[in-house]
């Protein structure tokens, strides 16, 4: 059970599949000598060479599109988009092409492409380097969307994503790269579409993604001292969504909080809330609480940034509000 960081876990998953499979290659901006802007791909160039660890020009739409073309020929490309904000530049190829080739061809094609990207606030980069846009992609049929929050999950889910025969948009959270955890000795694939109960509890279910999983765990600990037992669930895969696991938990606790760093309005949590209210309406003892960023671009000044995005305290307040309603 080695202890590795979230960053090392991503790298280990990449290295493992690169060793195992000639069809896998990685491309992205500054990923070779520099090892990526987040240092995730450090060392891969030395082991696998420039044919398979490809530094690209700053051409987000072409590198995603080239990944699509290579994937349609049976390769399993992994494209790194440096920041989620830059994912917007490649959306035409992701939304119109990658997601739809299989469908438009009536099932003739497969696009086993993985697009890794990262985002997340907490370091004051301003409005164009830390957005959380995962909700946009969940809206597009044909894509799978993954957002792991721990080293174990990021490792096993990335492995499974690369071997998935569909385009997978794989979100990593910047502030989690340094997070360490003991992971299984041997890399095991984690099936896409399976939620993980991060903490069991009886009074409230918090369904959280990304950084907010950890904020929710901190809030749960705090709530425990008030005598509130909190269950925390991380869906891990946003599409397909493990609705059954989420609904089952809420039917047990009768209360629900959804939490993510992305903007609350039209965020992923809105869909989760809709799923829960429809499938567990009679079990709910209180309205579902939503925790997310305020409806503003990310500001630069640290005090403003901290105000816009949610923290453990916001989750704790939401837990208290839902418990207060009898």
């Amino acid at each position: 059970m080695p202890e590795i960081s979230y960053r090392e876990a991503v790298r280990d998953a990449l290295a493992t599949v690169l060793r195992k499979d000639d069809d896998v290659f990685v491309m992205g901006e500054d990923i070779a000598e520099m090892g990526g802007s987040m240092g995730v791909t450090q060392g891969l160039l030395d082991e696998f060479g420039p044919e398979r660890i490809r530094n690209t020009p700053i051409s987000e739409i072409a590198i995603v599109g080239a990944g699509i073309g290579a994937a349609m020929q049976g390769m399993r490309p992994v494209v790194e988009i440096m920041y989620e904000d830059f994912l917007t530049l490649s959306l035409e190829q992701i939304v119109n092409q990658a997601a739809k080739h299989r469908y438009m061809s009536g099932g003739q094609l497969k696009v086993p492409l993985t697009v890794r990207t990262q985002g997340g606030a907490g370091w004051s980069p301003g409005a164009q380097h830390a957005q959380q846009l995962e909700g946009w992609l969940v809206h597009v049929p044909g894509l799978k969307v993954v957002f792991p929050s721990t080293p174990t999950d990021v490792r096993g889910l990335l492995y499974a994503s690369i071997y998935d025969d569909n385009p997978v948009i794989f979100f990593e959270h910047r502030t989690l790269y340094g997070l360490k955890e003991n992971v299984p000795e041997d890399l095991e694939a984690i099936e896409l579409g399976r939620a993980r109960v991060m903490r069991e509890g009886d009074d409230v279910t918090v369904i959280a993604t990304g950084r907010l999983v950890h904020e929710s765990l901190a809030a749960a600990k705090e709530a425990e001292s008030d005598g509130i037992s909190v269950e925390v669930i991380d869906p891990r895969t946003l599409q397909p969504l493990d609705e059954e696991a989420l609904v089952k938990s809420v039917k047990k606790t009768n209360r629900c909080v959804v939490a993510h760093e992305a903007i609350t309005r039209m965020g992923f949590g809105a869909e989760v809330a809709a799923v829960i209210q429809y499938q567990a309406f009679d079990w709910l003892d209180a309205p579902i609480e939503r925790v997310g960023a305020k409806f503003a671009p990310l500001p630069f000044a640290p005090v403003m940034e901290s105000f816009v995005v949610p923290h453990a305290e916001d989750v704790l307040q939401a837990i208290r509000r839902t418990v207060a309603k009898r």
Binding site: F25, E51, R54, T56, P57, S59, I61, A62, I63, V64, G65, A66, G67, I68, G69, A70, A71, M72, Q73, G74, M75, P77, E92, Q93, N96, Q97, H101, R102, Y103, M104, S105, G106, G107, Q108, L109, K110, V111, P112, P141, G142, K144, D165, N166
Partner: protein, 324 residues
């Protein structure tokens, strides 16, 4: 001299076969216009009348194993690559027997077995995939080429520039076929590009080998495509084919072409019809032409019957083929 060499490559018999294919595309497109106006065909259709020599010249120069990405104007490319008229027409009718099984339609014709990786309704949308497929061929050292068709209008979109740059930079096995038909929908070349009369200049910026082609001359299209494919296949890098052609009809079926002078349309039809040009060159007499015409007309008429008798998908089939 050059002409003699090219002619030497193709026998009269082969050229007659090319003429037949071009005529098949023409009659197919005319039938599509007719059935659309009659209300048979749903959706949005674009015919390739005037550009048949490009489709036949390029697609017949490709080898088995080569792949291509097409555009919204894809019927000609698809037929020229060998997809039976029945399957193309059935797709336009939204039938399961169609080449995309009713999921694609006119702007999304696919035939993966014959290398057709899809027609694209986003201008420039297929170019990056042709780079990626060409990259896969290069990485695996396969003697295959990925061809991207696109129009002059696509040379102004980001995917074109990023794709050209990446292909040349990585020497992918990609062939860029620019069908310059002088119109980006209703916008003439001179209004959308400073180099509309010399699209090869776009390739210069990326240090890519470019070849200028008269797109109304199927022999020349075929010969220069062979040359370009050889260049790409041998690993000498991607090629930009600057093909000058004519769109003899409107952008879409029903386009009144209010933006285009009547005499320009008449002149294009009288002087630049690739079928007339080839027929004259081969000195095909009326008897031979009429017989060929009757033959392809029968294929087209049969395709309509085939399509009409095809199987409608069940509504709930709409929820299939979303994920592999």
């Amino acid at each position: 001299m050059a002409r003699a060499e090219r002619t030497a490559e193709l026998s009269r018999e082969q050229l007659v076969e090319f003429l037949r294919e071009m005529l098949l595309i023409r009659r197919f497109e005319e039938k599509v216009e007719e059935r659309f106006r009659a209300g048979d065909l749903p959706g949005f259709l674009h015919v390739a009348i005037g550009q048949e020599a490009v489709a036949v010249g390029v697609c017949r120069a490709m080898d088995d194993g080569d792949v291509f990405a097409s555009t919204h104007r894809a019927h000609g490319h698809t037929l020229a690559r060998g997809t039976p008229a029945n399957e193309v027409m059935a797709e336009l009718y939204g039938k399961i027997e169609g080449c995309s099984h009713g999921y694609g339609g006119s702007m999304h014709l696919y035939d993966v077995e014959r290398g057709n990786l899809g027609a694209n309704a986003v201008v420039g949308g297929g170019l990056p995939a042709a780079v990626g497929a060409g990259l896969a061929f290069a990485m695996r050292n396969e003697p295959r080429v990925a061809v991207a068709f696109f129009g002059d209008g696509a040379t102004n979109i980001g995917t074109f520039h990023e794709s050209m740059n990446l292909a040349q930079l990585w020497s992918t096995k990609s062939l860029f076929v620019c069908e310059n038909n002088r119109w980006a929908e209703s916008t003439p070349g001179w209004q959308h590009s400073p180099v509309w009369e010399e699209m090869s200049k776009r390739a210069l910026a990326y240090d890519m080998h470019a070849i200028k082609v008269d797109g109304q001359d199927v022999e020349e299209v075929h010969a220069k495509t062979r040359e370009a494919l050889e260049h790409v296949r041998s690993g000498d890098g991607p090629v930009f084919l600057d093909v000058e052609t004519y769109r003899l009809h409107g952008h879409y079926i029903g386009d009144p072409q209010v933006y285009r002078r009547k005499d320009e349309i008449r002149e294009a039809n009288e002087e630049h019809d690739p079928i007339t040009l080839l027929r004259d060159r081969l000195s095909i007499d009326n008897g031979e032409f009429d017989s060929m015409n009757a033959d392809v007309q029968q294929v087209v008429d049969d395709s309509v019957e085939f399509a009409k008798n095809g199987t409608d998908p069940q509504p709930e089939d709409a929820l299939k083929n979303i994920y592999a």
